[in-house]
């Protein structure tokens, strides 16, 4: 056997897989390879795959399960690529070509087989071949492959799985074809051939799997070869509309059809007129449906007005969607549920049209879109006084059941509208703000509120500071309610459950003792009820909280500085509490959650990320005072950094980096630019002279104590300023002074030890308090350190415990914080003043 296979290794088909394995093994032992990247391996791999896993025309298909393995092997090792090698490797190239030739031949025989299963395997693998094979091979044979696949779609006898596979494979073939820029014309004519057959299939075959692959193929053609639709545009539109209006289409498919319908205008030369026409048709259809649906729930003039606006008098109204009667008088017309899903699908289609990118200008009917949204959101199921006799209770019940779906689609449409027109929303912005604010007041379903938050976020992001001014109050008020930690919901139920339970137990115990006290019994009942409730809807509030946190984060990002007088303090506190609640005590839980492959872990991580993100925003967002909860934040992020959950840990590390600038504000010297102290020599006051010298002395004194920490601190604080002194003196001072300074511009010389006087220190610290202008923090920290120690008569002595100094440092930080709190408004401007002092001092010294 061995010798035989060795002699004729070209023969790929062995009688039995087992034998083939033996032969491969023996070949391997005969022929050695460099490593797993050796190109000589490729043809061998391919032949083995063919012989072992791909069925041939003689044997029945037994093992479908190995197919994914075949595909992944081909993709991993690029078995079909026939990569052009150096010409010296001609022999190898021939080998590899012939292996691929054999493979393609095998697939073609499979495709022409009568057995649907073999045919299916062949077609699927041909699709993979289209993706993987070399450009030369593809270019040479795509036409043959295409016709072969198309014949299966056209053939009425072919089975469903074969058709599904054919559609997918043709789609892949066209995708590959679109990358050849020199065959556009031929490609379009090929693509045009598939349209009618698959539209016919769409009408005839009720299988959803087939519909799906047909839609995929249609989408591919629309995106890559829009010209292929040409004269069939109306037919396609009609076929798709018929499916959307059909009562048999499942809601899942409805969405897919709607998505494709949104892409369709690209096919009609992709011009703005076809886009507008489609949008107009959709809006008319939606409004007509709503007129029926909302009968008795709103004034009839509303619907009439909406339609009038869409078809202004004097202009022809377009033919209804799909060219038919828009499915208006079919039997399903009376089913509220059907109308609602249909309207949702149409609105989804509008949203997709708005958000999918267009190649040309489009006229977006913002007025109609917004009034449609307003119309939908206005109906809440209540009956206007005058209307009540016209509606039965059952009708109202059915409508109310479907209203949330409609409201949700309306909010989605609103978001898409804002998204698509971005800055040009300006003339309508105030109207949208009122719409959103009023709906915030009405809306109580979590699902809708989440959507509403996302609308708000989009508004803030697209319109910026001006929008933040308008929406801040609304966002803050609502998010405060939704994030209120005292309301027991979802997650919080876990932590607050125990005290409540004991509470209740106590109360019940009390009632047992005093049986006549009915009042406390009622209370006990109530508290029991509160504990039980949260479990019913523990999932939605978490996502609601995440949405609220995201909205707050966006607000802080866009307009954090605006709320300094009003809402900022409240939001900062709220976010601190929320982040702490979401994280502390739950770090540990995360570990145990990991064992369970369920959703609760992701929920936990998501809310932690959202809470931490919003908290970071509140710490970093500009404000007039130092962030109040900076210490809490740093500690929280530090702990978070050690969590096993890498996303959270990663975010915490990022947060610490972002906060580093807050704790060590940088006033780095501007590269190459002169210093910014534009001080005339005479303007330097006496106070500022005294302010610095003693402090520097003090620093030196502390440093001499041999404290490592302080040495480092000193180094950090001084390096930039030291170098800046030089620059300052170089550039700002009159020539004489510069010269003088250069004689001894070392810091040590500047700080002469002669002024080391206790009274001076006191003066300095007082000056700090009185100073109008804030200091660079490193500087001011140091100064207040001196101040604190003076006051408490705790001047650090030699040999003193470093822990004391640590606490001093902390204290100093706190003092600084307070100080800047009380300080003038100027602190929003990062000041480089410390350097100014230094330079002016050096004048005097020298």
């Amino acid at each position: 056997f061995t010798s035989k296979t060795l002699i004729s290794p070209k023969n790929p088909i062995f009688l039995h897989p087992h034998l083939s394995r033996i032969s491969t093994a023996s070949m391997a032992s005969f022929e050695r390879f460099v490593d797993m990247y050796d190109p000589r391996l490729k043809p061998k791999f391919l032949r083995n795959l063919l012989s072992e896993y791909v069925p041939n025309e003689k044997q029945p298909v037994t093992n479908f399960l190995s197919l994914p393995k075949v595909v992944s092997t081909i993709a991993t090792h690029k078995l079909l690529s026939e990569s052009p090698l150096a010409s010296t490797e001609q022999k190898l190239q021939n080998k590899s070509n012939s292996a691929v030739d054999d493979c393609v031949d095998r697939l073609m025989t499979l495709i022409s087989s009568d057995m649907p299963d073999k045919c299916w395997v062949g077609i699927c693998l041909l699709g993979v071949t289209c993706q993987e094979c070399s450009s030369d091979r593809f270019f040479a044979s795509y036409s043959v492959w295409f016709n072969c696949l198309l014949s299966h779609i056209k053939n009425p006898a072919s089975s469903r799985i074969v058709r599904v596979a054919s559609c997918t494979s043709i789609s892949d073939l066209l995708t590959r074809l679109s990358r050849f820029s020199n065959t556009k014309k031929d490609a379009v004519s090929h693509a045009a051939k598939v349209i009618l057959p698959i539209i016919k299939l769409l009408d005839e075959d009720p299988s959803e799997a087939l519909w799906e692959s047909i839609l995929h193929l249609l989408s591919t053609v629309v995106i890559l070869f829009p010209a292929a639709f040409h004269s069939n545009y109306d037919k396609v539109e009609a076929a798709i509309a018929a499916k959307i209006f059909s009562a048999k289409t499942s809601s899942n498919m409805l969405k897919k059809f709607a998505h494709f319908l949104a892409l369709l205008p690209k096919a009609n030369k992709g011009d703005e007129a076809s886009w507008s026409l489609m949008m107009q048709k959709l809006l008319i259809s939606i409004n007509v449906h709503l007129n029926n649906f909302f009968q008795g729930l709103e004034e009839e003039t509303k619907g009439k007005k909406a339609l009038q606006r869409l078809t202004p008098p004097g202009k022809d109204s377009p033919s209804p969607l799909g060219g038919l009667n828009g499915g208006l008088d079919d039997a399903s017309w009376n089913s509220e549920q059907l109308i609602a899903t249909r309207v949702s699908a149409l609105m989804f289609c509008c949203s997709t049209m708005l958000t999918s990118s267009n190649r040309s200008k489009v006229n977006i009917p913002v007025g109609s879109l917004l009034s449609l949204v307003e119309r939908l959101l206005a109906v809440n199921g209540s009956l206007p006084q005058a209307m009540s006799p016209f509606m039965t209770g059952i009708q109202q019940e059915l409508v109310c059941l479907e209203l949330p779906t409609l409201h949700s689609s309306a909010l989605e449409l609103l978001r898409a509208t804002i998204n698509s027109i971005r800055s040009q929303l300006l003339p309508y912005a105030a109207y949208v703000v009122r719409l959103v604010s009023s709906y915030f007041r009405k809306c109580s379903l979590p699902e809708l509120k989440i959507k509403l938050y996302s609308v708000t976020t989009t508004l803030l992001k697209s319109m910026g500071v001006g929008m933040a001014m308008q929406l801040a109050q609304e966002v803050v008020t609502n998010a405060s309610v939704d994030l209120d930690p005292t309301i027991v919901e979802g997650f919080d139920a876990v932590s607050t459950k125990t005290p409540l339970l004991t509470n209740r137990a106590l109360l019940q115990a009390g009632t047992k003792k005093r049986k006549h006290s009915t009042k406390s019994a009622v209370e006990a009942e109530n508290s029991a009820f509160e504990v039980g409730l949260p479990h019913n809807h523990s999932n939605s509030p978490i996502s609601l909280k995440i949405a609220a946190l995201e909205a707050l984060e966006t607000l802080l990002t866009i307009g954090g500085a605006l709320g300094s007088d009003s809402w900022r303090e409240r939001v900062d506190k709220l976010l601190m509490t929320t982040a702490t609640n979401a994280c502390v005590g739950r770090w540990a839980n995360a570990g145990t959650y990991h064992c369970l492959p369920n959703k609760s872990t992701t929920d936990l991580v998501e809310i932690q990320l959202a809470a931490l993100g919003a908290f970071l925003a509140s710490l970093v967002s500009p404000s007039r005072v130092r962030p109040t909860f900076l210490a809490e934040g740093l500690e929280l992020f530090r702990t978070g950094k050690f969590q096993a959950e890498m996303k959270v840990a990663g975010f915490c590390a990022h947060a610490l980096m972002a906060l580093e600038v807050v704790i060590h504000p940088r006033a780095l010297p501007l590269d190459g630019l002169p210093s910014l102290s534009d001080r005339f020599p005479e303007s330097s006051s006496l106070a500022s002279q005294k302010q610095n010298t003693p402090n520097l002395n003090k620093l030196n004194g502390i440093a001499h104590n041999g404290d490592d920490l302080f040495n480092r601190w000193l180094a950090k604080a001084d390096t930039p300023s030291n170098s800046e002194i030089q620059r300052t003196s170089d550039m700002t001072l009159p020539l004489q002074e510069t010269k003088r300074l250069k004689l001894g511009n070392d810091l040590a010389t500047v700080v002469s030890p002669s002024v080391q006087d206790h009274t001076d220190m006191v003066v300095a610290s007082e000056n700090v308090q009185e100073a109008d202008v804030p200091e660079k923090v490193s500087e001011s920290t140091v100064e207040t350190l001196g101040h604190g120690s003076d006051k408490d008569a705790m001047v650090p002595k030699e040999g003193e415990d470093s822990a004391v100094k640590d606490s001093l440092m902390e204290e100093a930080g706190v003092v600084t914080k307070r100080e800047s709190l009380g300080e003038s408004d100027d602190d929003s401007v990062p000041s480089l003043q410390a350097d100014d002092f230094l330079s002016s001092d050096s004048d005097i010294e020298s």
Binding site: Q131, D136, I223, K361, G464
Partner: protein, 448 residues
């Protein structure tokens, strides 16, 4: 012949490059032209003419086209001209109600704002040319207009020395407008005409710097709406440019010096000088900052444009604009898409059709339609994804799930049906037998 070597291989996204060309455009007060130069190479590009635009009267509208307000020497009427990027002639001429001094557009290029001689401010929609809003901004002419970083606020400076901050959303909100004042902030500390305004990258906490003929530059806080600092210069300041990454701005003086101002300066006086253009004191008339490469551009009264490296404080390059004083300099970024063998440029294509002229009057009726331009690079080919491999996986998974819920339910149903039909069969059998019996009995009866 399929081995044709001219055949393009399947190119992927990496082969497509998006390239940016940075150029500067400059115009003059005196009848002349708009010059443009490539900043990298220094090559002179197209000249657009004729143009005589006042300071702050030249703007690139997004990367779509070029707009400049025109002042006639007679002074009673003015116009606004549009040029597309690839044609030197004026393509669209608009004639607003009064001469427009300051002209600016938001970064997307969807709105143009103009400040009139009377102090009125006009806001036009670019796509339709509609005058969307007109409001009274200042008591005297509007000298400069600047959008905030996110385009939601507008800062205007006037000849009467006032600086105002407007929220565009509020301007369009008629309800709120009726309630109270329309502006967000109103700064009146300048004593003479405001010549230039810049706003930094601080978002809602941004700093605004204004320059004035009163020899001061003032730093304002947007969030607080008040004056932070006032810096006195030795000469009147004509132009400002902002160093985006430091709290530093450059101020072009009438005494030909470029001063370096610090927003957080501690003193009231500024003496730091970056450099001066010429010995004979020709005033600096405009400044611009190019973030790419950190370059400062200055234009002066004698028609010279100078490119400075602020770090070394030396001029890098000079351009000659013409005789007249340079009234405007702007840095323009245009993006290209380079494919393997052809170069597409989105701005060239968009420039092919310019919008209609700007309208003179506000029109009350509103049709509720907004024209939205395609996003940049929408004409770049899209690639859809391959699906065959996924289909195989999916269908094989379905096969593997045999015996799972769906199949089992079906099986049970079939079993049940089978049982039913068996019973039915029995029933029929019985009926048949009964009938047969009856027939037999009848037959027997008949024969008997």
């Amino acid at each position: 012949q399929s081995e044709n070597s001219s055949l393009l291989p399947s190119f992927s996204e990496e082969d497509r490059e998006i390239d940016m060309e940075i150029s500067i455009i400059a115009s003059s007060f005196i009848d002349g032209e708009i010059g443009s130069w490539d900043l990298k190479t220094g090559k002179a590009l197209l000249k657009f003419k004729p143009c005589a635009s006042p300071a702050h009267g030249l703007t690139a509208v997004g990367d779509k086209f070029l707009a400049a307000s025109q002042l006639k020497a007679s002074g009673s009427s003015g116009s606004i001209f549009f040029w597309s990027w690839n044609k030197p002639q004026v393509e669209v001429r608009s004639f607003p109600k009064e001469p427009i001094l300051a002209l600016t557009a938001n970064s997307e290029g969807t709105y143009i704002v103009g400040g009139g001689k009377s102090g009125e401010i006009y806001l036009w929609e670019v796509a339709t040319g509609k005058l969307l809003k007109k409001w009274h901004g200042h008591f005297q002419s509007v000298t400069c207009l600047v959008f905030s970083g996110d385009d939601s606020l507008l800062v205007s400076g006037s000849g009467d020395g006032s600086v105002k901050v407007w929220s565009l959303i509020r301007l369009f909100d008629d309800l709120q407008r009726q309630k109270g004042s329309t502006h967000e902030h109103y700064f009146t500390e300048h004593t003479m005409s405001v010549t230039d305004i810049v706003i930094d990258y601080g978002g809602c906490n941004a700093l605004i710097v204004s320059a004035s003929e009163d020899r001061t530059c003032k730093v304002w806080s947007l969030a607080k709406g008040k004056l932070l600092r006032s810096i006195v210069f030795p000469s009147a300041i004509n132009a400002l440019a902002l160093d985006p990454c430091g709290s530093v701005f450059y101020a072009g003086g009438r005494d030909s010096k470029i001063y370096i101002g610090a927003m957080n300066a501690t003193s009231d006086h500024c003496t730091k000088v970056l450099g001066s253009i010429s010995e004979e004191s020709k005033a600096i008339t405009c400044l611009a900052y190019c973030a790419e490469g950190n370059l400062l551009l200055s234009g002066s009264e004698d028609g010279k444009i100078c490119v400075w490296d602020p770090k070394t404080r030396h001029p890098v390059r000079t351009f000659d604009h013409g005789k007249g004083p340079v009234s405007n300099i702007q840095v323009v970024r245009k993006t290209f898409v380079t494919n393997l063998n052809k170069t597409l440029s989105s701005w060239k294509r968009n420039g092919a059709s310019l919008p209609p002229p700007l309208e003179k009057f506000e029109k009350p009726e509103e049709d509720g339609i907004v024209i939205v331009d395609p996003p940049p690079f929408s004409d770049v080919p899209v690639y859809s994804s391959y699906l065959s491999a996924d289909l195989i996986d999916e269908q094989v998974r379905e096969l593997q799930q045999q015996g799972s819920a769906a199949t089992e339910i079906e099986m049970e149903r079939l079993k049940l049906e089978y049982k039913k039909s068996l019973q039915m069969n029995d029933q029929w059998q019985k009926n048949y037998e009964n009938l047969l019996q009856v027939v037999m009995e009848l037959q027997n009866g008949v024969t008997n």
